[in-house]
C-alpha cells in the first residue's frame, strides 16, 4: 500500500478501509463497508455480486468521483479510507490530488454506451478531446477494430451500434494509457455475440498496455472468462476473494455457493428445478403438489424433484386445439422515417412458427432479428402485413379479449401501471376475462390472492404500488397478472435478463412450475441459450427475420448448426 517501501512497480490499485455512505432524503445506506483490495499491474480483478451490493460505488470511489460531499441529485455522500492509484496515494473524499489522476492514471468504461457518450458530439471530436490529434484518434479507432474509422469519426453516437459505441468507450478509456482501468459492466447492455468480441478486445488491450483492470460484473461466466482473480461482494462487503477458478469451483462462502449454483450452463439438468432450494418457490410448489415444504426442500436438494411430478392431476381438456399458436408465412415491415423518401424496412420474411398445446418454445436470435416483433404480432400488438396468425382456435385481428394471450416483458417495472395498486392491476385483468366476468366480487378477490400465492407473493403486496416493490417482486406481479386466468398462450420477452442471477433462477423455476402445473403453452424470447434450454422444449433460431432452425432442447449442444446458434453456444461455453 505504501509506495515507498516497495521497490518494484507499485500496484495499479490498492484500496484500504474504504467506506461509503449515501444519505438521500433522510435515509442512509452504507453502500461500501470497510473494503480493501489491490490489483497488480496487468492483473484483472473481477468484482461480482448482486445488484446494489456496492460494486459501482467502489468503481466511482477509486476514480475520485465521490469527492463532492453534496453528491448529485440532492443526496449526501460520506467517504472514508484511502485509494492508491499507480503509486499515488489519494483521499477519495477530497478533490485535491485527483486532477491529473482521474482520466489519466485511472479511466473507466461504463455499462451503457448509449447514454455514456455525448449525443451532440461526433465521435471524432469526443476522441479528439482525449487523444489530442486526428491521427491519434484514427489510430485508436483502428486499435479497437472499428472498420471504417473515417466514417465513424464523423458520426454521432446514435448512428452507431451498441457494440461500436462500446468500442469507442474503450478507445476513450485506453487512449490515455492509464495504470488502472475500471470496467463497470462493459458488456451487459450488449448482444451476447458482440459481448464476446468486446471482452476479447479488452483482454488484448490490457495485456498490451499492462494496466490493471477492476472488472465489475454480475455475470460469473464473464468473470471467469476475463479475470485472474474474483472478489464477491454482498451488502457492501467483500465476502470472498481468490483466484477465479478456485472461487467458482470451490466456493467457501454460502453466498458465493448460491451464486455459483444459480449459474446456468448447457449441462444444467433441465428436468429439475435449477439452483438451490428457494423458500418462495418451494412455497408455491407446495400449493401445486400438496407436500410439506420441508419435504419438498429435501427432495429438491437431493435432486429428486422432477418437473414431471407436477400437473399430473390436471384434467386434460378434450377439445383442446392442436396448436396454441400458429404463424403461417407471416411477413412484416415497418415504415422508416427520414425526410424526403419514406422507405419500408422488412423485418420478418415468411415466418412459420407453430407451438403445440402445452409446448414451450424458445426463440433465440441476435438483436434486431425480429424476435420481439414476432411476439408482438402473436400478442396482437402489431398486425402482420401478410400471413395467418392463429391463437388457440381463432385467428385474431387485434386481441379478441377472452383469455387470449398474455405477455411478460423484460422490463416488468414499466409494464405495471405505476399509479395503480397490485390489487387493481390484477382485478382489472381478471375482469377482462370470461372467467373473471362470471365471478362475483368476493370470488374475484379470492382468485387474485391465489394468483399471488402461485408466484409466492404475500397478500400484503395487494395494496402496494409497483414502485414500492423490488425488481424481482415486480416481475412476479407481472407473472401473476399474466396467469391470474391461465391464458391460451404465455409470451415472455426476455423476462430474466434484467434480473440478478439468483432472482432470475427463481423466476425461471416459477415459470417452469406454471408451465408444468397448468400446462401453459409458452413462447420464450431470449439471448441466453442456457436459459432457453431450461425453459423450453424446443429452441428456434431466427436470423434477420427468417427462422433458420429449430432444435429440441435435449440435444442442443450437438444439433445446432446455424451460424448465430454456434456463436451463442460459444458465448455460453465461454
Amino acid at each position: 500500500m505504501t509506495t515507498t517501501t516497495t521497490p518494484a512497480t507499485p500496484p495499479a490499485l490498492s484500496v484500504a478501509g474504504l467506506t461509503v455512505r449515501y444519505t438521500a432524503r433522510g435515509e442512509g445506506t452504507t453502500a461500501v463497508d470497510d473494503v480493501g483490495l489491490d490489483i497488480a499491474p496487468g492483473q484483472c480483478l473481477a468484482l461480482v455480486g448482486e445488484s446494489g451490493s456496492g460494486k459501482s460505488t467502489i468503481g466511482l470511489a477509486v476514480q475520485g468521483l465521490l469527492t463532492d460531499p453534496q453528491g448529485r441529485g440532492g443526496g449526501r455522500v460520506e467517504t472514508r479510507g484511502t485509494v492508491t492509484v499507480g503509486g499515488t496515494r489519494l483521499d477519495p473524499s477530497v478533490e485535491t490530488g485527483w486532477r491529473g489522476v482521474r482520466g489519466h492514471r485511472v479511466t473507466t468504461v461504463f455499462q451503457d454506451p448509449m447514454s455514456s457518450l455525448d449525443p451532440t458530439m461526433t465521435i471524432g471530436r469526443l476522441l479528439g478531446l482525449v487523444t489530442g490529434s486526428a491521427a491519434e484518434t484514427r489510430r485508436w479507432l483502428d486499435q479497437v477494430e472499428i472498420r471504417e474509422p473515417a466514417t465513424v469519426a464523423r458520426s454521432y453516437p446514435h448512428q452507431l451500434s451498441g457494440g461500436m459505441r462500446q468500442r469507442v468507450m474503450i478507445a476513450l478509456a485506453l487512449a490515455r494509457r492509464p495504470a488502472l482501468l475500471v470496467a463497470d459492466e462493459p458488456t451487459t447492455a450488449l448482444d451476447v455475440s458482440v459481448q464476446a468480441q468486446i471482452l476479447k478486445l479488452l483482454t488484448r488491450e490490457r495485456e498490451q498496455l499492462g494496466c490493471g483492470v477492476l472488472f465489475i460484473t454480475h455475470d460469473l461466466g464473464v468473470a471467469r472468462a476475463v479475470c485472474d482473480e474474483v472478489a464477491v461482494m454482498r451488502s457492501g462487503r467483500i465476502v470472498e476473494r481468490g483466484p477465479t477458478a478456485q472461487v467458482l469451483e470451490r466456493p467457501t462462502a454460502d453466498y458465493t455457493a448460491r451464486l455459483v449454483a444459480s449459474r446456468l450452463t448447457l449441462d444444467t439438468d433441465r428436468h429439475r428445478p435449477v439452483g438451490l432450494p428457494e423458500p418462495t418457490v418451494v412455497a408455491s410448489m407446495g400449493e401445486a403438489l400438496d407436500l410439506e415444504h420441508a419435504e419438498l426442500e429435501r427432495r429438491w436438494a437431493r435432486k429428486a424433484l422432477r418437473w414431471d411430478d407436477f400437473g399430473t392431476s390436471r384434467p386434460r381438456t378434450v377439445n383442446a386445439p392442436v396448436y396454441a399458436l400458429e404463424l403461417a408465412r407471416v411477413s412484416k415491415s415497418f415504415a422508416t422515417g427520414g425526410f424526403g423518401r419514406r422507405t419500408r424496412k422488412a423485418v420478418l420474411h415468411d415466418v412459420d412458427l407453430r407451438i403445440a398445446a402445452g409446448e414451450s418454445v424458445a426463440l433465440v436470435g441476435e438483436s434486431g432479428s425480429g424476435k420481439s416483433t414476432i411476439l408482438r404480432i402473436a400478442a396482437g400488438l402489431e398486425k402482420a402485413d401478410r400471413g395467418d396468425v392463429v391463437v388457440g382456435h381463432r385467428s385474431h385481428d387485434g386481441n379478441s379479449g377472452g383469455e387470449g394471450v398474455q405477455v411478460i416483458f423484460q422490463d416488468a417495472g414499466s409494464s405495471l401501471t405505476p399509479w395503480l395498486s397490485v390489487r387493481s392491476l390484477l382485478l382489472e385483468r381478471l375482469g377482462n376475462t370470461a372467467t373473471g366476468k362470471a365471478l362475483d366480487a368476493r370470488q374475484r378477490e379470492e382468485h387474485v390472492r391465489l394468483a399471488l400465492e402461485r408466484v409466492a407473493l404475500p397478500a400484503s403486496v395487494l395494496d402496494v404500488k409497483p414502485a414500492e416493490l423490488s425488481g424481482g417482486q415486480r416481475q412476479r406481479v407481472a407473472i401473476a397478472r399474466a396467469v391470474v386466468v391461465p391464458p391460451a398462450l404465455l409470451l415472455c420477452d426476455e423476462p430474466t435478463s434484467a434480473l440478478d442471477v439468483s432472482v432470475a433462477c427463481s423466476v425461471l423455476n416459477l415459470l417452469n412450475l406454471l408451465r408444468h402445473d397448468l400446462g401453459l403453452p409458452m413462447l420464450f424470447v431470449t439471448h441466453d441459450l442456457a436459459a432457453a434450454r431450461v425453459i423450453a422444449d424446443r429452441v428456434v433460431v431466427i436470423s434477420q427475420g427468417r427462422i433458420v432452425e429449430s432444435v429440441p432442447s435435449d440435444d442442443l449442444g450437438t444439433a445446432i448448426t446455424s451460424d448465430y446458434g454456434r456463436r451463442l453456444l460459444d458465448a455460453v461455453l465461454n
Binding site: E27, E50, G52, S56, E278, W419, E428, E468
Partner: protein, 298 residues
Amino acid sequence: MPSSTDTEGRTGDPVDAVAAPSSSTVRRRRPKKPTAGTISLGALAVVVLLAVIGPWVSPYATNIPSGEPLLPPLSGGHWLGTDNLGFDVLTRVLAGTRTSLFAAVVVTVASALAGLLIGAVAGFAGGWADAVLMRITDLFLAFPATIVAMAIVAALGPSLRSSMIGIAIVWWPLYARIARGEIRRAAGSLHVEAARIGGTRGRRLMMRHTVPTVLPTVLVTASLDIGGVIMVLASLAFIGLGSPAPSPELGLMASAGLPYVLDSWWIPVMPAIAVAVLSLIFNYLGDALRSVLRAGGA
C-alpha cells in the same frame, strides 16, 4: 454516478426477503425543515385567507369613498392610504387579490382541462383525428395571443369575464400540446401495452392507464401558469380591457393610479406589488410541486 433509473431494472431485494414490501423500500416520512414548497403553501393560505375575509372584515367598502383622496399610507386609519377617489387602498387591494386569484384559477383550470381533453383525445386516437386537432391547436398557437385576447375583449365588451374568455382561448393550446406529447409517449409505453393485452380498451385504457401520466406535468405547468395568468389579466386590465371601475381589479387599479405615481406612489404600486406577490407565490409553489413530482415519479 448511477442515476436511479440506471440500476432500477435489476434492483431486486434478495429473494429470501420477499415478505411484504420491507420497511426500507417504503419511503419513510420524517419531520423536516420547512421547504420552499411548504412556505409558499403557507403563504398562499395566508393570502387566500386575507383575500377572502379581508374585504369583509375591513371597515371600508371597495367602491365608496372612505376618506380624503390621496392620503398616504398609515394615515387616518388607512393602512395603505387612499386613492384619488378616496377609496381605501388596502381594502381594494385585498378585494382585487381575491378577484385576480379567482379569475386566474378559473382560467388556468379551464384551459388546462380543455387542453388536456383535446390533447389526450388527439394523442390517444392518433391518425386522422390527431392531425386535425393538432393543426387547429397549432393554428391557435400561431395566433398572436395579445391580439386575439384583445379582439375578443373588444367584441364582448370590456369586462373581467371577457378577458378571462380571451385568455383561456389563447392559453389552452399550450396544454393541448403538452398533453398530446405526453399521451403519445405514454400510449407507446409498456404498461399501456400490457393493459391492452390484458383486455382493457377504449376510454378505460385512456383514463386509467394513460391520462394519469400527464397529470403531474399538467399540474406543474398549471401551477406555474397561474402566476402568469394573473400577470396577463393584470396587463389586460392595465390597458383597459378588464372590469369597469370601480370594481377592484389589480391591473386596473395600477393603471388608473399610474398618473399619480410621482406624488402618490402607493396608488399604483400597492396593487402592482399584490400582483407580484401572488405571482411569486405560484412560482414557488409550481417549482416545489415540480421537484416533488419529479423526485417521486422517478
